[in-house]
Amino acid sequence: MWQILLNRFKQGYRTIPYPKSVPSFPKRYRGRPVDVKGEVNLGELLFNEEAPKGDFTYSQDHRLAVSKKEDLILKDNEIKLARALDEKTKRLFGRSLKLRQVCAGGCSGCEAELQVMNINVFDLGRFGIQFVASPRHADGLVITGPVTKNMELALKKTYEATPHPKIVIAVGSCAISGGPFRGSSEIRHGADQVVPVDLYIPGCPPHPLTILDGLLRVLDKLDKH
């Protein structure tokens, strides 16, 4: 027991003060595209190093979540970030949002970044958001992966099993557009081909803070901190 206490003392307090302050990202981190010539589709972008080809540059800005599919297309440096839920839904979910995660062909990159939000560094629980074990307990779904044909039925059933009103969040390029697997005959190209989506969080995979930013944005919790 003493050893556990000693370790606890040594490990200290690890939760980052987000959103009060945003930790700095490394120089090579590839965030929101800026200096866009023409247009960039955030939903199809894999945030790979060679993607820009002179058409844009990556910034350090981690905020990427949008509410509408058309907002994914960046035409200049303005991004229309996700808007808050309407008052009625916000009253329902604002202080307690239970989410059910469905991996529908995700490579486990996005899943790992969602999982990591539960650890003490990000501590999702302090915002009243929690991942639950059953769609019947959930207020919404978080979908990752391009939705493989083999997962389509399971995803539909999970959606139907979630009580109304519900929100659906698509996390990662795959869940938005099929990602690297675009063109494959074994997939549907994104979650909104199967169920209606309320929030798109681009990235391959998105950084945990990108996901957190999106969630706090729809719950209208960013300004209050």
Binding site: Q3, I4, N7, R8, K10, Q11, R14, F25, P26, R28, Y29, R30, L46, F47, N48, E49, E50, Y58, Q101, V102, C103, A104, G105, G106, C107, S108, G109, E111, A112, E113, L114, Q115, V116, I119, N120, V121, F131, A133, S134, P135, G145, P146, T148, K149, N150, M151, A154, T158, C174, G179, P180, F181, G183, S184, S185, E186, I187, C204, P205, H207
Partner: protein, 489 residues
């Protein structure tokens, strides 16, 4: 019929016509003979050659000698039958099921020729009795994990049989690889399994480099294996955290969880992605590791090393942890050998199998990481092997940071050679990743075969829980932590 053995080494390409081709019976005999004399089935797959004929190709690894032998069989046209190897060579079971599914070959005498990734017309194994019951889980699970279906046949709490049905994640990776540009194929390779980006990424790069005779700059080789070991560390440490969670030892679970992030963040420092995306590219790497970054890495690794030692010590010196882990989900050495397990799952059953040593690739040809093994084959052994390997990886990284060669980072590969075959093995954190590619006469990829270590190891989970309690399943599952996406492709 006798033939001269054709040996290749890891990361080599060779003209397709050099592969010895035999009839089906000799092919079968040759596989069995090789596996009786110390060989192991690294890969067994089918491909349609440009002459429209269907071929089966076997890659046998002679682990002790570090040799890989390749041979093929030309299958007759029309309805094709193949006499199953599985009854005498259990490690062939899933390879044969895959071949049956991909090419419609009838595998005669296979004990259980069920689909691998398709879900059509399949009824599950059942035990009919008034005293048994069935528990079905998935594909949508309770946690944030990938989809798979698990069906337990139980007598009370005792698991009589666990049937694992996968395929939910099937995205058509192999088919895509042969249809898209190499630039896109690189991005798909990085997404075969999102926690093994460097492992599969390196394997793909090695294939392209072999097929184009590209000499990778040493600096790039070094940065690749540094990233590979960082990937191993992040996942091993994460797995130990997941085991702690399942036992209910929450402080240690939180510490390991945080520590995993330290390694992921090092990877983000190096290439902008926590999972190593955009680092490996055919011909080298896209990012350098300069003197300032090396100093920063060393400082952070030393800190992580100290933390890891302390947390691991706390985990392994707690008697309630040991009593939960020991003797749970045991796999015997013999079973592991028969099933052809790879990676930490094999090494925790006292099998000394490690691609980094047996078929050294990249910088491992010059730098060596000692192979760790544990004898007991239970969950404890699979936890301990992660601790040992993580320790060795940190030590290796600290040394490697001092020895990064100078020079180029990337040498653009030239065009691929026509009608060639290439093989690349990489020891990912789960074990042996094997990629094989064949080009056609126009130098395009016409067959790309991916084997994730999970493909070898899923069956071990079924056997580990046989006779155990249902409540042991989560622990056993975490102790293997296999990839669904890597299996389903």
């Amino acid at each position: 019929m006798s033939f001269e053995k054709f040996y290749v080494h890891n990361g080599q390409s060779w003209p397709l016509e050099q592969v010895p081709v035999m009839d089906e019976a000799s092919f079968r005999r040759e596989i069995l003979k090789s596996c009786e004399t110390g060989g192991r089935l690294v890969n067994l797959f089918g491909y349609h050659a440009q002459d429209k004929n269907l071929y089966l190709c076997a890659v046998i690894g002679m682990d002790q000698e570090g040799k890989l032998s390749v041979f093929a069989a030309r299958m007759p046209g029309g309805q094709v039958h193949f006499e199953s190897l599985t009854p005498v060579l259990p490690q062939a079971h899933l390879f044969e099921r895959e071949i049956a599914e991909q090419f419609g070959i009838i595998i005669q005498g296979h004990p259980w020729l069920k689909p691998v990734r398709s879900h059509q017309d399949y009824s599950f194994y059942e035990i009919r009795s008034e005293e048994t019951h069935e528990v079905a889980v998935g594909p949508v699970h309770a946690g944030i994990i990938e989809p798979g279906h698990f069906r337990f046949q139980c007598h009370g709490e005792e698991i009589l049989n666990l049937e694992i049905q996968l395929g939910w994640q099937h995205r058509g990776v192999e088919k895509m690889m042969a249809e898209i540009s190499l630039e896109r194929a690189m991005l798909v390779a990085e997404s075969i399994a999102g926690d093994t980006v460097i492992g599969h990424g390196t394997a793909f790069c090695n294939i392209i480099e072999a097929l184009s005779d590209t000499e990778v700059p040493l600096q790039a080789e070094m940065i690749r294996i540094i990233a590979l070991e960082l990937e191993r560390l992040a996942n091993h440490v994460g797995d130990m955290g997941a085991l702690s969670t399942d036992i209910g030892f929450l402080p240690v679970s939180a510490y390991f969880g945080r520590l995993r992030g330290e390694f992921l963040n090092l990877s983000m420092e190096l290439c902008g992605s926590r999972f190593g995306r955009s680092l490996c590219r055919p011909g080298g790497v896209l990012f350098s590791l300069g003197p300032e970054m090396i100093e920063d890495f060393r400082r952070r690794l030393l800190k992580a090393q100290k933390d890891f030692m302390e947390i691991a010590e706390l985990f392994f010196s707690t008697s309630s942890v040991l009593s939960r882990l020991e003797s749970t989900g045991r796999i015997s050495r013999q079973t592991a050998e028969e099933l052809g397990l790879v990676g930490p799952a094999a090494r925790s059953c006292d099998l000394e199998r490690d691609v980094r040593t047996d078929y050294a690739f990249g910088m491992f040809r010059f730098q060596h990481i000692p192979v760790s093994t544990v004898v007991s084959g239970d969950v404890y052994a699979r936890a301990l092997i992660r601790r040992l390997e993580a320790q060795r990886s940190i030590e290796f990284l600290l040394e490697a940071l001092d020895q990064i060669p100078s020079g180029e980072l990337l040498k653009k590969p030239s065009a691929l050679k026509p009608s060639h075959m290439a093989l690349s093995l990489v020891e990912g954190w789960r074990g042996e990743i094997a990629h094989v590619a064949i080009t056609d006469a126009q130098s395009r990829l016409m067959r790309y075969k991916v084997k994730d270590p999970s493909f070898n190891n899923w069956i071990a989970l079924s056997l580990a829980v046989r006779g155990a309690q249902i409540s042991d399943f989560p622990l056993c599952n975490k102790s293997f932590n296999l990839s669904y996406a890597g299996h389903d492709l």
